[in-house]
């Protein structure tokens, strides 16, 4: 048994057989050639050949897919006449063999990029090396390793390489491909992007892996930890089976839940949506929409107040991508810890208790009206709703709604089309809003509970302050009772209530939210499947009867213990029985 520790780059664990791909270790020695024209012609032919090979791979990949992006990046380098020009010139003037000239040019350029301490350029350095290596092998008449068909039907491979070229990876039979191990390559390399898009584990930076591995021997690959075990002993195999069973159960259960609409065992439909707005993440296919579209980054990433047109384009694009699914746009929540230069906001002693979010927007009306016009216009591109953050009084809600009406009037006067009956929601994240949620509910079309701020303000504890962090707990009776109050008041007024803080994605808490009658959980895209799975395991009606007892417990710790019991009872986490 041999153990190699590399860096985990794409998650998952797999047992398969070793397949070595020794391509890429190219070399070339300088020599003089007689026919310089013919020598230069070799490069032209190799480029044409390689371009054709890349094109054949490219047509099989959908536009915008990671594999397509990689192939396009390679093609871009391959088509760079200016880059290859000095190689040709040197061959013609010095009479040196073209593979050597190319190798030197490629290493120099890649070295230059690698020095620049920029992950993007480091990855491009790898691309340039790979493209040139592929050309050099072609010029030298070498045959690339054939990984297109597995030796034994049904055999699964972990491919070992120095640094896998994407086209080598894409040539492989994907049904046989179970994982990658490379000696080189960073976490942003194309091998990694490809592994993630194929959903297979990858380990990079594994020292001497190619030398240690023997074709056909068994390998255990742990993509999370970066561990590679060659020729494992019985104990390692047993440990692997335990790990894999747990991971597989979780994955299979979540995969199955992902493509279904989420509903509790007793038929209560729960919308599972995503929070978007700073990562640039895409809207997953199988979710009920965007429960929270943050808009701050549009402001923070600019050196001027974003125009109506700039904002409109962004909102409309998300709305269009969502199709008919809802998109809740939260108006600007800036101030507090988030600042923008051009707004020239005064320093405040207590920014979290200061002029932020709706308070700022009601103060800077032109700024707010610009955003509201953009949102109203985007309403024609999909199922858009607007939501106001940090509401603490009925007056604020009424003023914000009046400004929304004013923004509509401005658009009407200008003859610009917009959605006139846009639903208006209140983000419940202050204790004040909880206390008056009965009144707010009559004047809002929906609620969304922002747990991150609600916990902080209810417990009067800064989550970043380690000395009071123990107070920052969603399971505090004060917080949970607040959420129950809001859910009840929404139900009485007959409006939907959702949740968009981190607590919405906690599988321990999902049964509680279902029991309280929340209609929507908005989570980060990666948590959609697990949230749907948890919701599907819960009997909301039966749990509702247990709520009073649960919320009467002494403290957060007792409530967590009780929730862990409920989690086991309903098995809201696969493999948690």
């Amino acid at each position: 048994m041999k153990v190699i520790e590399g860096r985990g780059a794409a998650p998952g664990c797999v047992r398969a057989v070793v397949r070595r791909c020794a391509d890429g270790a190219v070399s070339a020695v300088p020599r003089t050639v007689d026919d310089r024209q013919a020598e230069a012609e070799k490069l032209r032919r190799a480029r044409a050949d390689y371009a054709a090979a890349l094109s054949r791979l490219r047509v099989k990949e959908a536009d915008g897919s990671p594999a397509a992006d990689i192939l396009d990046a390679y093609r871009e380098i391959l088509d760079d006449d200016v880059f290859f020009e000095p190689v040709v010139r040197r061959t013609l003037s010095d009479g040196l063999n073209v593979d050597f000239s190319l190798l030197r040019e490629a290493r120099e350029t890649a070295g230059l990029f690698a020095q620049m301490d920029d992950p993007y350029l480091a990855a491009r350095a790898g691309d340039i090396t790979n493209v040139c290596d592929a050309l050099i092998l072609r010029i030298q008449g070498a045959v690339p390793s054939d990984l297109s068909a597995p030796a034994v039907p049904g055999e699964k491979w972990v491919v070992f390489a120095r640094d896998l070229t994407p086209d080598a990876a894409l040539r492989m039979d994907r049904s046989a491909l179970a994982g990658f191990v490379t000696e080189q390559g960073g976490l942003t390399s194309h091998t990694v992007i490809l592994a993630r898009s194929l959903g297979i584990p990858a380990v990079v930076g594994a020292p001497d892996a190619l030398e240690a591995a023997v074709d056909g021997e068994t390998v255990l690959l742990y993509g999370d930890t970066g561990r590679v075990i060659l020729d494992p002993d019985e104990a390692a195999l047993a440990a692997f089976r335990r790990d894999r069973d747990g991971a597989e159960q979780l994955q299979a259960a979540c995969d199955a839940a992902m493509i279904r609409e989420a509903a509790t065992l007793d038929g209560q439909r729960i919308h599972v949506c995503v929070n978007l707005g700073d990562s640039g993440a895409d809207l997953p296919e199988h979710c009920d929409g965007v429960g929270l579209l943050r808009t701050e980054f549009i402001y923070l990433g600019a050196d001027h107040p974003p125009t109506e047109e700039e904002q409109y384009r962004h909102y409309a694009a998300v709305a269009a991508q969502a199709g008919g699914r809802e998109v809740i746009i939260r108006t600007l929540d800036i101030g507090g810890d988030k600042q923008a230069e051009y707004l020239a906001l005064p320093r405040e002693a207590n920014p979290f208790l200061g002029c932020r979010a709706i308070r700022l927007c009601l103060d800077r009306r032109e700024l707010f009206l610009t955003q509201l016009r953009a949102v109203l216009r985007a309403g024609l591109s999909g199922n858009v709703k607007v939501m106001f953050p940090m509401i603490a009084s009925l007056k604020e809600l009424r003023e914000a709604k009046a400004l929304l009406a004013q923004a509509g009037a401005q658009l009407r006067a200008a003859g610009t089309p917009f959605r006139g009956d846009m639903p208006v929601g209140v983000m419940i994240e202050t204790p004040a809003a909880v206390q008056i949620s009965d009144a707010l509910a009559w004047e809002a079309d929906f609620f969304s509970i922002g747990t991150n701020d609600l916990i902080q303000y209810t417990m009067a504890a800064d989550r970043m302050n380690e000395r009071v962090q123990y107070l920052y707990d969603v399971c505090s009776p004060a917080v949970l009772r607040s959420i129950r109050t809001v859910a009840r008041n929404a139900a009485i007024a007959g409006i939907p209530v959702g949740m968009c803080g981190e607590a919405a994605a906690d599988p321990l808490l999902a049964p509680l939210w279902c029991a309280m009658g929340l209609n929507e959980l908005s989570v980060v895209p990666a948590q959609v499947a697990r949230t749907k799975y948890a919701v599907g395991r819960v009997d909301a009606g039966a749990l509702r009867a247990r709520l009073p007892g649960l919320l009467d417990l002494d403290g957060a710790e007792e409530i967590r213990t009780a929730l862990a019991e409920i989690q086991r009872e309903y098995q809201t986490m696969p493999g948690s029985e």
Partner: protein, 86 residues
């Protein structure tokens, strides 16, 4: 010859995706298209050269276009760089 003075407006600079898009655009024209920046003279049809020079936001550059379609190419490329946003 067409020339234009431009300040790179976008955060990314002439790098990554914007660089790729610029090269694609330049290749549509017959004219030679060069970007001058201080001592540097970069062929804008070369992705490798463009990336190697890493022109970042606020870099002041001179666009120099020469050839049959220089007027059309020059204004299109200048407009493209000036309107970069990401």
């Amino acid at each position: 010859m067409f020339t234009a003075q431009i300040t790179v407006p976008n955060e990314t600079g002439l790098h990554a995706r914007p660089a790729s898009a610029l090269v694609r655009l330049c290749k549509q024209y017959q004219s030679s298209i060069h970007i001058r920046h201080g001592e540097l003279d970069i062929d804008a049809k070369s992705i490798v050269r463009l990336l190697a020079c890493g022109l970042s936001q606020h870099a002041r550059i001179e666009l120099v276009v020469e050839g049959e379609d220089e007027a059309e190419a020059g204004s299109a490329v200048a407009e493209f760089i000036r309107s970069l946003t990401d």
